[in-house]
Symmetry: C2
Subunit: 465 residues, 2 copies
Amino acid sequence: MSENVIGMDVLFNPGSVAVIGASEKPEKLGSHVMNSLIKGGFKGEIIPVNPYSDTTMGLKTYSSISDYGKQIDMVIVAVPAKLLVEVFRECADSGVKGVVLITAGFKEIEDSSGIELHNTIGEIADKAGICVIGPNTFGMINFHASLNASFTPEFSRVKKGTIALVSQSGGISHLFGFMAMRTDVGFSKIIGLGNRLNIDFAEVVEYLMDNDPDTKVLMLYMEGIDNPGRLMEIFKKHRGKKPVIINKTGSSEKGDQASKSHTGSMAGRHEIYMGAFRQAGILAIDDTENLLDSAKALAGCPELEGNGVAILSGQAGPGMAACDVCEANGLKIVDFQNHTQGRINQNLPPLALRSNPVDMGPAWYDAVASREIIKAVMDDENVNGILILIMFASANVGVVNGISHLLMNWKQKKPLVTCIYAPPGIWDREMEHLEISGALVNFPSPERAARAMASLWRYKNAIER
Amino acid sequence: MSENVIGMDVLFNPGSVAVIGASEKPEKLGSHVMNSLIKGGFKGEIIPVNPYSDTTMGLKTYSSISDYGKQIDMVIVAVPAKLLVEVFRECADSGVKGVVLITAGFKEIEDSSGIELHNTIGEIADKAGICVIGPNTFGMINFHASLNASFTPEFSRVKKGTIALVSQSGGISHLFGFMAMRTDVGFSKIIGLGNRLNIDFAEVVEYLMDNDPDTKVLMLYMEGIDNPGRLMEIFKKHRGKKPVIINKTGSSEKGDQASKSHTGSMAGRHEIYMGAFRQAGILAIDDTENLLDSAKALAGCPELEGNGVAILSGQAGPGMAACDVCEANGLKIVDFQNHTQGRINQNLPPLALRSNPVDMGPAWYDAVASREIIKAVMDDENVNGILILIMFASANVGVVNGISHLLMNWKQKKPLVTCIYAPPGIWDREMEHLEISGALVNFPSPERAARAMASLWRYKNAIER
């Protein structure tokens, strides 16, 4: 393992974490960082550092890193910029392997002293082999180590999962975290790159590809980077190993201008980025909700082997809405095999919507018939993926109950994406059970389910091109 | 008022409602209808009709409509098709003005007896001046009369508001209802047209335009209709009176085929519909979530008088994401007036993102500075609409508190659309208060906020073209 990889291993899985600027005062970021570590359930040692306190949240507090005396694995820094050179020298002297540098206000400021400071601490870190997340980051979270190294304690409410988010924006990282809390998407890591002292997309992507078994899908948010060539090489090297999906802002004139100013790096020419992503086999998605939906589908579904899908709905309308999105995105609403169509016809009255898309509505108070229709379609060799779209409430919860065992036992032999949707409080726990056990991947609208299925297909095309 | 209008007034605001097929057995739709009426808090008289029961849910039950003896305003029918001719004859004899006909299984079935039945009861209804919602509908809800005339009691959980949904799909109506429950959107009416015996889009739209002060925005879901020309005339006649937005499925080959079969009416040629909508001054939106978001913005915002918008964000990333969507949809991220820019510069360090879009991040722990920036932009004459995008949690709830009074007092002098977003449980009640009081219109992603703002502009163009 390279020094970098060892450093990142320690950074994400430290035995001990010091908080420089630890505090109990809620107006200080250091207090929120302490809350994140403690309430997030970090199992290693937490070492508050603050020369003006003896204890912080019940923990013995040290005046400096060297005052602690023993080896410290990782350090979270939340003190003003002017103290950073001293802090980094101490980190180097004490053998610290990783730093999360929350402090903001240097490279992004229109003032040359900021760039000098950036370079000075960069040199210290590089020489000492310290991996630095930040500066100007909210932090990072490794859910599998219960390590919330951020100033947002609420990130610990996000479920443990297999999606890693690597993001150049704290705001977007928080957005995804809050979305995940509300939709039960699970993350392995959330990493706020900030102004990237020595850890950039390239380093993190390589680490997640080669050294992080907890991560199955990489979800990236990018504004603009200095050295896209190096990152693209890493993408190409790992093409198809784990899905990579990316949301890059800057398609608009003002968005691109803002991107250039904000990141202090080359943005510009959205089309060039898009072309590079295509060549590198990664999938660009221009909407945050769709990015998270797509990550959820890629993490939860097997590969979509062809573009033939079946649409089974409890009511005709949602099925039609899904048809429109599927066809517009390269999926095909395939004809069923003859024996499949025969089995469906046995279980539905002579309605018009017995061919794909199938409106199961007329069988909707008959769980056996609904089950038979779904089973027939699961067996159909023309069908590569299945969409099931059902709106229900207390009046028809019986049928949803009646098909849940079938879905559970089928175990996603082909991608099964659903919009099974009810008022809050109805069937919530059953749906959570089906989702957690991996039986299906559920979305809150027919179009979002269809777009997620389409992303499976677009991803397959992206890596095979 | 025409007979039709009088009939629809009674239909939506009845003093007495009979339920034909009332039951206590949960496997019967009539039991769910009874629950809807009772639990929905209907204040008028509820008259269960069922020849095999003496009481239903504690209410005296009659063997038939005529058995009740007195005048009945409206009747909800949930009995098999074979009983319908008799039921309609009794309704006609008893002076019933409105029927919600839930019973399914005739015109949509591939069998000529269904069409005959449809025509027979249609003649009885027309001759007696009875307005019929359905057949093959889940029902309708008039939230301002606490009248839930549907088989889904949970619809009563949707908040009272000013958006009317008129829908050709029960599934899509339920979808919107469930979305509304989760996002606090309020409805005036939800009307499931079903197979449209004598009440079609045209009748309902005309009624909502002319005779329903509770409704400010019309939101339509359409698969295909027999006589689009008549509806388009009504749209044109009322152009600009109340916003009309529509989601029409069938843009795909399979979606369109399904639409033709399912509605038993002419669908076909999506582009022709789109052209007709454009000419009639109504806005077509091809996604259910975006349709509801747009309705929410149209109901909650004043008119967007020009396409110049300001984007103010708590973090740069969400602002850039919004820029991309705004520019792609015809909005302009305008330059501020000189004195506005001066006021902003006084309140932000010399960051790059002080011009539009403004990253308020560096003022993010300073409520006074954030307020000054927002005030300056509110006063700017170049700015027609404002987007505020803030992700926050416990660490920075103070600033959001600090700007809420300003938003409250400003009272949407120009459209103010936001994505102010936090983990569940943080600032929920404050946000609900701001939304209910009409101070802002909030969405769960920067792109959705931007698309909603864009819909205000697209609607203005639609009516002025």
